[in-house]
């Protein structure tokens, strides 16, 4: 075998190896550049009560921030799981959830919550500034913020199926109950 044939074969094997490795990864887990950085502060008025909601006021708690929209079918799919998570930690003093309505009208978002149920505060990100601060691509996207206000994990896509196990029983349970989270994978 000639040298160039060996080089060509080696390159092809390397490319196929790279593709193969890519197939083993979770496409829903986007390693955000924000993981490990301070969560940008945000504030707004609660969708129904009009009361102020601010991330700063939740310092000391583990906070799950979920970007969603009423027109987003994947958001509707994961909604019952978000309510389940909220119910699970309803009385826990160190856990909070905030919904951020992305590229949607307040009234549409209210209709969605009336229809599918609510429980935790939601605010509208009318200008998109909060979404851009969090490097959001599209909805649904979910961020887990620790007690120190650091973004620990980001999830892209609905929290259903195996992602529910990974996020509810993994991320949230570890951080809230054990105060530790080693990996977002």
């Amino acid at each position: 075998m000639r040298l160039w044939q060996v080089a060509l074969l080696g390159t092809l094997l390397a490319v196929f190896g790279l593709f193969g490795y890519g197939l083993t990864l979770n496409p829903r887990h986007i390693p955000s550049v924000l993981e490990g950085t301070p969560a940008a502060p945000f504030a707004g008025e609660e969708l129904f009560s009009g009361e102020p909601v601010a991330l700063e006021a939740l310092r000391g708690k583990v906070v799950l921030v979920n970007f969603w929209a009423s027109w987003c079918t994947e958001c509707a799919r994961e909604h019952k799981n978000l309510l389940r998570l909220h119910d699970r930690y309803r009385s826990h003093p160190e856990f909070a959830m905030v919904g951020i309505v992305h590229q949607d009208e307040a009234e549409q978002a209210r209709d969605f919550l009336r229809r599918f149920g609510g429980g935790y505060p939601n605010i509208v990100d009318a200008s998109g500034a909060i979404a851009i601060d969090y490097g959001v691509y599209g909805v649904p996207e979910t961020f887990l913020i620790d007690r120190d206000g650091t973004i620990r994990c980001k999830h892209f896509g609905p929290i259903v199926g195996s992602n529910w196990d990974r996020i509810a029983d993994g991320w949230v349970h570890s951080l809230v109950e054990q105060g530790e989270l080693n990996s977002c994978g």
Partner: protein, 156 residues
């Protein structure tokens, strides 16, 4: 008549020219910056070119930040801190990114080298003259061919 046509032409061209000259410098800055940022929900479109809601919101944010006195580099740094290098239309020339910039040229050089060597080998073969004469035919084969040809002639 010519004078009327000339006047009409001036009247028609003047507004367009005036518009060009009067472009808000802030808008020009927004345009230049938005052209260098990728629309994160599109396929190979910049924030300037895209009509998606997120791209429009990004343009508005860029406008606000520039108007507040931030420099082009400040805004680029901010966007990169939120979305990583992916937000840039051209990947920054550092680390593994050099592969993206350099590999096409390396492959081009390799391809040209391979092509050159193949062509050289062909021209060497052509210069060496016609291929060597085939080995002489053995007697048995020659007789068999002649017999076949004769039989063909009889059949006609």
């Amino acid at each position: 008549m010519r004078l009327v046509v000339a006047l009409l032409a001036v009247l028609l061209i003047a507004p367009a020219y005036g518009e060009l000259v009067r472009e808000d410098p802030l808008e020009a800055q927004v345009r230049e910056l938005a052209r260098d940022l990728r629309c994160t929900v599109c396929q190979s479109e910049s924030v300037w070119e895209s009509n998606s809601t997120l791209a429009r919101q990004m343009r508005e944010l860029i406008r606000t930040r520039l108007a507040e006195g931030e420099s082009r580099e400040d805004v680029l740094r901010y966007m990169q801190s939120r979305y990583g290098d992916f937000i840039l239309m051209a990947p920054p020339k550092r680390g593994l990114n050099w592969l993206l910039w350099g590999l096409p040229f390396v492959l081009l050089v390799l391809g040209l080298t391979l092509l050159g060597r193949t062509l050289a080998a062909w021209s060497r073969a052509a210069a060496a003259g016609p291929a060597a004469a085939p080995p002489p035919m053995d007697e048995a084969t020659r007789r068999r061919i002649e017999a076949e040809l004769e039989r063909l002639g009889e059949e006609r």
